[in-house]
Symmetry: C2
Subunit: 350 residues, 2 copies
């Protein structure tokens, strides 16, 4: 048990709650041998579900608390009143070295606010961001921010570019990741001021990536750039738009096949190929947002995810814990911030 990965799980988080979170952990426990879960939440709700999920029961410890943070709660309220809540206790487990990573499907704003206070940001970072991995035709793209920071300024976006580039270096094993800024067009004159300002910074500083200019929503799933940087408002809407489009397409496709017997036979013959296809594009398999810029691994699952979706977020946390990504990122960023005078005031205020 000494070398196993320990995941602190906010069992009460998400739109569905323990009925999705615990079966998600069961899915992971079923084919992972070296894992232990710390389940934070209401025993009265957790234990009956745990009784039906035997693999999970064998590898988990329940830490009881009746307190949890609601989806409607403001981050400021969650910060003030959230002590002893399932979310906060799970985050504190990472700070205290009891867990290697925390996973929650709860209130994004509250999770970010509490994680920032408890885990603290890497020196020099103004705001942590949420990053996720998108499947693309030519390879994976890491996109951030996906909803942690609705309003940001140009300097925040430039910092996100650094966070994303360092993550991409580790995740994609490449020396100089290409970085694009999400905008409404690729022309210099387009877009809101904070995006144009970030372009000005990134074109004029050294950072651990190669700045490729503005990219559009159409570029998110091509894999043309390794990192796409956005504020959390546009990033969150892009992420969820893609998720919705995927669901719509999957349902329409199923309906087209089942409406025609010949097509149904064809569909069955294609079943293996279809499964490969589905595995490539099912958004639930790419669920999981990493908070970058904190001293610890904190992974956010979509609030509306089912067990399969949340299990992807847990798997992402396990991988990050195994690979030591966050430690590397923290060191690299701290190093960059102090040594390379990245985002030098002169460059930005010109």
């Amino acid at each position: 048990m000494a070398t196993s990965i320990k995941i602190a799980l906010d069992a009460m988080g998400g739109d569905i709650g323990p009925e999705a979170v615990l079966p998600a952990a069961e899915l992971v426990a079923k084919n992972t041998t070296d894992i232990h879960f710390l389940l934070y939440g209401d025993e009265a709700k957790i234990l009956p579900i745990l009784a039906k999920n035997r693999k999970l029961r064998a590898v988990s410890t329940v830490i009881h608390t009746e307190k949890f943070i609601g989806n409607d709660e403001k981050p400021s309220t969650a910060l003030r009143n959230g002590k002893g809540s399932s979310m906060r206790l799970a985050i504190e487990a990472v700070r205290d070295g009891k867990a290697d990573a925390v996973v929650s499907a709860g209130n994004t704003g509250a999770l970010m606010a509490i994680a920032k206070i408890v885990l603290k940001t890497v020196p020099g970072i103004h705001r942590p961001a949420i990053a996720s991995i998108f499947p693309g035709l030519k390879g994976q793209t890491i996109m951030l921010d996906l909803g942690a920071n609705v309003l940001v300024d140009a300097e925040n976006l430039a910092q996100f570019a650094v966070l994303g580039a360092v993550f991409a270096k580790a995740q994609k094993k490449i020396a100089v990741p290409s970085v694009g800024l999400l905008n409404v067009g690729t022309e210099d004159t387009k877009g809101p001021d904070h995006v144009k300002g970030a372009a000005n910074i990134l074109a004029n500083v050294d950072f651990p990536g190669h700045y490729k200019g503005f990219v559009e929503g159409t570029d998110i799933m091509t894999g043309e750039v390794d990192v796409i940087v956005s504020d959390g408002y546009a990033g969150n809407i892009a992420l969820k738009s893609i998720e919705g489009a995927g669901k719509m397409i999957a349902t329409s496709f199923k309906n087209s096949l089942s409406s025609d017997p010949l097509a149904l036979i064809g569909g069955l013959l294609s079943a293996f190929a279809l499964k490969r296809f589905k595995n490539k594009v099912d958004p639930r398999l790419y669920n999981g947002g990493v908070f970058l810029g904190l001293n610890g691994i904190c992974v956010k699952s979509h609030g509306g995810s089912d067990a399969l979706g949340i299990s992807s977020a847990i798997r992402l946390a396990c991988n990050l814990a195994r690979e030591g990504y966050i430690q590397t990122i923290s060191e690299d960023i701290g190093h960059l911030m102090t040594q390379e005078t990245l985002l030098a005031e002169g460059a930005y205020r010109d």
Copy 2:
């Protein structure tokens, strides 16, 4: 010819230019009998292409101009220097009654700026918006703004809700369309101030729709609401993200089938169903953004569209011209603005 629909086409617009715009018009001319095109642009470029598109040649008039508006041009420059350009001449044809609608795949900002000056906005409307129709599982959703207004305030968004609702009434033949505001979550506390401000207005005024609250990116293609309102920044990024996801899924699917002989046979057996499916979700078939709030029909095609995509925009313009949508909208909005004291200052400043 007296009752035919006359479309003024900016032949030079878009990333590809006349090589995409003219074949698009040919596609429409091939199965539309009562149409006439006014083609604005450089004869030296248009005539050789026209020679290869015989149906179009038979139903079009070329109006020569060497001037065109570049994709990088700022709207202000395009306004100052764009007189006599293909885009401006095409818009003026609508103002002067020579055409029933104008279609351009050119610079969105320039098109909006010139259309506003030439066609003028409906009294009471601060800013026109671009709307498009999205296919959804339960029905079509009209979304606006898709890129005309990067930065808006709460009152602009509330006006977009009115424009969208009136369009939906005409397009979907329903009495009271449901309207949602695009945001990063459905909770009241989430999102940027202009979105929260618009929610406050819409919840407190009478308008020709039923306000349903915040919706997320995932709701764009469900068809759950008839109208989704957004600023042009998030709306444009959502639109293009969906387009990119659709392309990625289509390519992955094709690759999955062709990688496996059994799957390929299956795919062929399913061909008819697949075609129906493709017809339902191909984003090119839903290409075409209508400028709402102007005294005339102006349809914008995506700049990157191919001939099939631009042909959808032309078809949308034809339909709108036939149905007289814009006239109805103009009248309804003018009526609303003056008579119902919609967006009364009291309601907004409370």
